[in-house]
Amino acid sequence: MRFSVYRYNPDADAEPRMQDYDIALEPTDRMLLDALVRIKEHDDSLSLRRSCREGVCGSDAMNINGRNGLACITKLADLKEPVVLRPLPGLPVIRDLIVDMSQFFKQYHSIKPYLQNDTPAPEKERLQSPEDREELNGLYECILCACCSTSCPSFWWNPDKFVGPAGLLQAYRFIADTRDEATNDRLDNLEDPYRLFRCHSIMNCVDVCPKGLNPTKAIGKIKDLMVKRTV
């Protein structure tokens, strides 16, 4: 199978290049990650992140034939040859398919991604009805792979100021949690022309999310709440 892979090693290369590989796959190689591991057996200098190989850790996000996705759950059979692999767009490349994700995590951290509740905890669990818990579905499953944020034009232009779809999805995850008491602070934190309102509902995030989540919907719900408390 033929692959064209983005290569850049600041130690050795003056500028990035595309390298072609033509490799023989084993019948057990079903996912793109299997093929990349196979390539690495021949060329150990190809660098990429990978871990769980089942789509839950979020390590091996990359741009696959022009679309962001996880290599470990992208079936080889579904890919057009040559398979063009590039690092996630919009973030600085460290080497080959590895990008510097600091900006992405900085935005995630900026929404205070932890439960805030100053009421003394009860002896046992805080109660939450199954209906209230259901509100968190479609939010808490995020694996922070950055497929969404790095496919978002608004994030490309303002990665330093726009929280991005992943961070905003998590912002809503805590707003939606009945156990969280900081809703107002969280809304204050986002009421800025950049942090939330750079989202123009382009919906690339929804299109690429490997977990099928919908950040645009969550962003809409945050806006609804802001309107509700203002109007």
Binding site: S154, W157, N158, D160, K161, D188, L190, E191, D192, P193, Y194, R195, L196, F197, R198, H200, K223, M226, V227, T230, V231
Partner: protein, 115 residues
């Protein structure tokens, strides 16, 4: 120099909301105009003038035009926010747009009331 990222200007919602509200006004006025033009008599200069004679029509049109200006301001500002990074240049562009929009607004009033 420390390159601090500063955010927290609290007009995000206001502008976002303004853009939605103005969009609704623009939409309503457009529907109204199309309706009038389709159902009314054949348009010549006289009927066109007649159409804009009532005060309510002048005010509706002014509201429409002001909505367009506000809507355009937020839209243009959004584009500048995305693509123009130097603060000085950005401020200069903002000023040009604001002056232009104010001139347009004054011009609109003049046209409508024939001043």
């Amino acid at each position: 120099m420390v390159n601090r990222i500063v955010v927290g200007a609290h007009y995000g919602l206001r502008d976002w909301l303004a853009q939605r509200v103005t969009a609704v006004i623009i939409g309503l006025y457009t529907f109204l105009s199309i309706g009038l033009l389709l159902t009314g008599p054949k348009i010549d200069f006289a009927t066109w003038r007649l159409l804009f004679t009532p005060q309510w029509m002048k005010f509706a049109t002014l509201l429409f035009l002001f909505s367009v200006f506000v809507h355009a301001w937020i839209g243009v500002r959004d584009i500048v926010m995305d693509y123009i990074k130097p603060t000085g240049l950005r401020l200069a562009l903002y000023s040009v747009f604001i002056v232009a929009l104010i001139v347009y607004a004054a011009w609109s009033v003049r046209i409508l009331w024939g001043l």
